[in-house]
Symmetry: C2
Subunit: 211 residues, 2 copies
């Protein structure tokens, strides 16, 4: 829209850059902020705001103390590890890639390595960040990073006290079926598995070729 | 792990089903719950719990009053519509598919149709739910559904007072590049666009074939 307006504007050269900058800048004005809840994982703040249309309102924001870290652990046979656990906020069982929280400012790769080892007993020689996301940006600032872990070696799992886990191996093509059937619904896992299948289309084959 | 234990257990036939059922059931016990914040969009409750390892703890849960609804609007030329807006919780500008909130219990298809019309002026003759997710299941119960909208017709946009939007059309292959470059980070949009590319591999071609 800005570009169209600019092209029709005789002062385009002078006005253009400023107008473009304004379109991408913050149209909200915050008049006051009150913390209403905090625990070791989240902080909830209610902001009094002037909205983009100039009217007053409130905005409750959930700030996360951790970066969410997910691990696509792919073994030499082209299988992915999934962990199953009860998710308290959902009141439901969930199959996911291994995940954990990395305190902001700390090394997310170390978190990825620790969570994979604790949840599955796996260690990996090859680590690569492949995807970054914001999980729920209408209400929270929660960010996530996904690592691809390869050259795996099996050790012993050591789950945390908050975790009671099951572990299973699936082909990525089977994980894609589980997404389409609603058997994998966790957003980090859904996006990570889709991402892997787009990066490595050969993994969509249900049975490896026998060449 | 359960399966391995079962196979070594002489009472496998009798014990197996019960053990499997227990593994999928809730290992948390809630002793008390206190609402600590509520606004029209979220409710935050602190639960006192006994964790899966038997130790006491707390769990702060953010319950959402809306289902998140996303729309993959794909035109006859194979282009997707993206909307750009400032996301207050992130403090950043974000390019996304059209999205909105559907009050729990109401018809998410109507929300999808209204949000697409308000944000882009588009109407569609064909609507299909293609993906369901939970966005942040370590802390919240927020769920999302994504619709694929086709056979589009252009009308006039009517953004809400909380929205100041830009609209652009991209090829799905270009949206995939934007995901890989970190220019699209919204989890609903990332998963929705990747889902579309897996359902319709021909859309990965940057330029349509001229057959």
């Amino acid at each position: 829209m800005t570009n169209l307006a600019d092209s029709a504007n005789p002062t385009h050269d002078a006005m253009g850059p400023k107008q473009v900058t304004d379109s991408y800048s913050n149209p909200w004005h915050t008049t006051s902020s009150t913390e209403v809840y905090r625990n070791p994982w989240i902080q909830v703040t209610e902001h009094r705001v002037i909205r983009p249309d100039g009217k007053p309102g409130i905005y409750g924001v959930v700030a996360f103390q951790n970066l969410a870290v997910g691990v696509l652990a792919l073994n030499d046979e082209g299988c992915l590890v999934l962990v199953g656990q009860w998710r308290y906020p959902l009141g439901a069982y969930s199959w996911e890639i291994p995940e954990g929280g990395c305190p902001l400012g700390q090394d997310s790769l170390e978190t990825a390595q620790r969570e994979l080892r604790e949840e599955t007993g796996l260690e990996a020689n090859s680590w690569e960040p492949v995807l970054r996301m914001h999980l729920s940006n209408s209400v929270s600032d929660e960010a996530a990073v996904v690592y691809l872990a390869q050259s795996l070696k099996q050790g012993m799992a050591e789950p945390e006290g908050t975790e009671q886990l099951m572990v299973r191996w699936v082909r990525p093509a089977q994980a894609w079926e589980m997404i389409q059937q609603g058997l994998i619904t966790d957003a980090i896992s859904v996006a990570a598995i889709q991402h892997l299948l787009l990066l490595r289309p050969e993994l969509r084959m249900p049975i490896p070729s026998m060449i």
